[in-house]
């Protein structure tokens, strides 16, 4: 029981410890506020600007969510297509990896030149970072379908459609969720970066304004907000996963307990 509490609480305690060290370091070493503000100062600033932050928060959330949804759907579609047409896979897979090697910071201004300041270039940036983890994880899941199950389906005369919808896709759901969790955290980062390109509101905008005004405390507020949002997204996906793949969790628990 004690062990379990420790396991759950440990990251929290560690975080508190770090913040305390930070707080005392700024006080003892008398670090200037514009260089590194104390956590308490950041917190106070955050509370003070709740009203103005709310709008930024909403538009970033909206952007991140829609980019995440689009990116994940594209990732899933790509995985399914590559799996069903295995000849195409060998040709396309290296390109997918290359797509992740394009520095987003460089690509983003180009996208603005091509598509203007609207939603489109921003969504492209987020989708580009979000589709990849989902595509790779789903592809693994589809490919790793146990051979004996496939054999049963084939012997029973199942067609390719049945094989995909009734066997391979459900089998890869836990894999898809691993991809979604990574994408969910990336999507917030992607949204912030895409807002740097030029947007009317958003955490990215707030951050750029703060940093050009040397309001380091506000930059940190933005950082903490981004972290919080990522954690929240991650948590939501984890909850969904628990609900949708409960069979897997029970199976794993059984293996862990050695039965």
């Amino acid at each position: 029981m004690k062990r379990r509490m420790w396991k759950k609480g440990a990251p929290f305690f560690l975080l508190v410890l770090l913040l305390m060290a930070w707080e005392s370091a700024t006080a003892i070493l008398k670090i200037e506020e514009w260089l590194l503000p104390a956590p308490s100062a950041i917190f106070i600033e955050g509370i003070k600007s709740v009203h103005s932050l709310w709008g930024h928060l909403l538009s970033t959330t909206e952007l991140a969510l829609s980019g995440f949804l689009i990116g994940s759907c594209i990732g899933l579609l790509i995985a399914a297509a590559l799996h069903l047409f295995s000849g195409v896979k060998d040709a396309v897979y290296p390109l997918l990896i290359l797509s992740q090697n394009i520095p987003v910071i460089v690509l983003a201004p180009l996208l603005v030149i091509w598509f203007g300041f609207g939603m489109l270039p921003k969504l492209i940036v987020i989708s580009l970072v979000c589709f990849f983890p989902v595509a790779v994880a789903s592809l693994d899941g589809l490919r790793q379908t146990p051979a004996e199950l496939k054999h049963y389906f084939k012997m029973m005369g199942a067609g390719n459609g049945q094989l995909f919808w009734k066997l391979e896709l459900p089998h890869s759901v836990p894999f898809i969720f691993s991809g979604l969790k990574i994408s969910a955290t990336y999507s917030v980062m992607g949204a912030v970066i895409s807002e740097w390109l030029g947007a009317k509101s958003g955490i990215g905008v707030y951050m750029t304004l703060a940093s050009s005004a040397f309001r380091t405390d506000r930059v940190f507020v933005a950082i903490f907000i981004i972290m919080g949002m990522s954690l929240l997204f991650f948590g939501v996906i984890t909850l969904l996963e628990r609900y949708l793949v409960s069979w897997k969790r029970k199976e794993d628990e059984k293996h862990a307990s050695g039965n």
């Binding site: 004996e148 199950l149 012997m155 029973m156 005369g157 049945q162 459900p170 029970k250 199976e251």
Partner: protein, 247 residues
Amino acid sequence: MHLEIKDVSYSFDGKQNILEKLNVHVDEGEFVTILGPSGSGKSTLFHLTGGILEPDQGDILLDGKNINGLKGHISYMPQQPSLLPWRTVLENVLLGSELAGIKDKEMAKALLVKAGLGEYEQAYPHELSGGMKQRAAFIRSILSPQDLMCLDEPFSALDELTRVQMQKWLMSFWEEYRRSVLFVTHSIDEAVFLSDRIYVLSAKPAAVIKEVVVPFPRPRREEQLLSDDFFHLKRELYAALKPTFTT
């Protein structure tokens, strides 16, 4: 239902035959066993019947119709239970019929109760023991609409005690429903206890070297396992099998 496998030959590489002019038939409501040493091409015979392989020569006829290379004509029970871990037991036993485009939930529930799995309807496969999983797999193949059931060494992965229990269970279940069964095993005891007729296969290339009609009345009882007739038949089959694994 009448299955006839006629002069079927098959090889993987075009050189060495796995099956050589094999002749096997199964009549309506008959329990026929293919007995052969491991690696004698018994599973290949099933893959041909299931249509995922096509014979090089010969015909596989179901009710007189050639089903060479045609899938979906048999109900199959593999060596491994092959239950889908994300489906409940009830959804799992319905899978075979679902693939054929029908679903009879009430029948499935009734059979699960009969198989002693009534309480496990909503359980997931990992909650079942090995024997229970195989029972579920058997129910799944009974619920599949095809007339011929092909059982591929379904008990070989179970421990000895469970296996004997499962054989008795299968027998009582089958005697009630009387589907045509083509059963593959390498266990002589299992073959004699369960079958109406036994084909003994030789090792590579597999051909029928002996066909035996099992004379014991049904319903079969465990006591028959210890009778003189049983031992006599067992000796006969062993003598036929012996050259296949000593050479």
